[in-house]
């Protein structure tokens, strides 16, 4: 137990901050994912074949390729790509991107592919009459989406989004390969310096279990909230 003490003698405070880092990366990645989903869901639902193709390409490639490979692409290719863009504007110095940004972008793009599928499914399962009724009532496009479609869509999407959240949370453990100090990386460091990998990795597993358990409880509450009236 003294291994987990706070302060200089134990790893308690380090692991606590690492847990906060995992939560921060997961939330950022989830939001980045929503941003991508917001772009690609309309593409997938579009009338135009070419736009559909772009949307399908994104979700198929990301969901068919291992997360670790995507992370390596961002880790090794990220600063190169930024430097290339910078060189167009006449900046030739070396640019290093922060591991947090690389990680949350990589996980965000992965999470976005899953969110896109969830949103597409949710929108498609809303009754067509709802769209037509909104149109007949003369509600503008903006209001149609935000006041009529979105609230109904959220109710249908929340159970599946909770799965996406769980996947995202667990995927953040892979960012440890880039050196970002989250739960997994911190356990690796602690295990290395105390030679007690069994304890620290098991503790990491407990931390992840706690996170998934607590987020499940929270999401269940949200689910109840959005299912009012059903």
């Amino acid at each position: 137990m003294e291994l987990l003490a706070f302060g200089k003698t134990g790893w308690g405070d380090e692991l606590f901050y690492a847990t906060l880092m995992t939560i921060a990366v997961s939330i950022t990645a989830m939001l980045v994912g929503f941003f991508f989903a917001l772009i690609f869901t309309p593409l997938k639902l579009s009338k135009y074949k070419s736009l559909n193709l772009v949307g399908n390409f994104y979700t198929t490639v990301i969901r068919g390729v291992p997360e670790l490979l995507v992370i390596y692409l961002f880790f090794f290719g990220g600063s190169g790509a930024i430097m290339y863009v910078a060189s167009i504007f006449g900046y030739y110095e070396y640019i290093e991107i922060n591991a947090f940004i690389t990680g949350s972008m990589a996980i965000g793009i992965i999470s976005g592919a899953y969110s896109t599928e969830v949103f597409r499914g949710a929108i498609q399962s809303i009754d067509k009459g709802q769209f037509e009724a909104a149109k007949v009532l003369g509600i503008n496009k903006f209001g149609q989406f935000y006041k009529i479609i979105l609230p109904q869509m959220l109710r249908l999407a929340i159970p599946n989004l909770s799965n996406v959240w769980q996947i995202t949370l667990k995927d953040t453990s892979l960012i440890s390969v880039t050196g970002l100090v989250e739960i997994m990386r911190q356990s690796y460091i602690a295990a290395g310096s105390t030679r007690d990998p069994l304890f620290f990795y098991s503790f990491a597993a407990v931390l992840y279990l706690m996170l998934t358990y607590m987020s499940m409880k929270l999401i269940n509450k949200l689910e109840v909230r959005y299912s009012r009236g059903y």
Binding site: Q166, Y201, Y208
Partner: protein, 225 residues
Amino acid sequence: MDFDLMITSFPKLLGATVVTLKLLSASLFFGLLLGLFFAILRLNKNIFINKFAYGYSYIFRGTPLLVQIFIIYFGLGQIEYLRTTFLWVILKEPYWCAIIAFTLNTGAYTSEILRSAFQTIKPGIIEAGKSLGISNKIIFYKIQIPIAIRQSLPAYGNEIILMMKGTSLASTVTLMDLTGVAKYIISTTFKPIEVFIVAGGIYLFMTFVIHNIIKYLEKKYSFQQ
């Protein structure tokens, strides 16, 4: 775009694909058996057995696969007692550690898939079997299992694809699978995009093949032909 690199790295990556496929097939085979075993335990009326099976699937589904591999590969070696038993022959090899971790992980997901498949079987079908005087054992093997297989095919197909992506984590315990070799080539040539296209293409091809096999099986086992 460095096309030469793409062409020269292709055979190397293809060689590594064999390792990926070996890991995948071994862990799916053992995982299916384990999943079936725990699905049956989940359906047991005894609350302790039931809770035990639920605990297993909850823990393995609630933690990242990476943690599971690390516990088995780095953690178990720490137990002095294990080093003296015959298990050590298996546990010192990263290859077997990866397979054990993948098996336990996919077993947890498979047990959930099979459990829900068993639970959706209409009681009428089992009652029909009973009224025909078929023994419980045969009802289970000849009626419940075939129906459960058909019910669980779409979800199990997804699980196979998830597991295929999961095998990439074997590269974190020094195994040179497709992702491991891809990372090695990237870190020696610093050409991430080219290698990603080739390695990602191979993964996508495997996803495509698995997807179509499952689709074919679904069609074959469905009621309405």
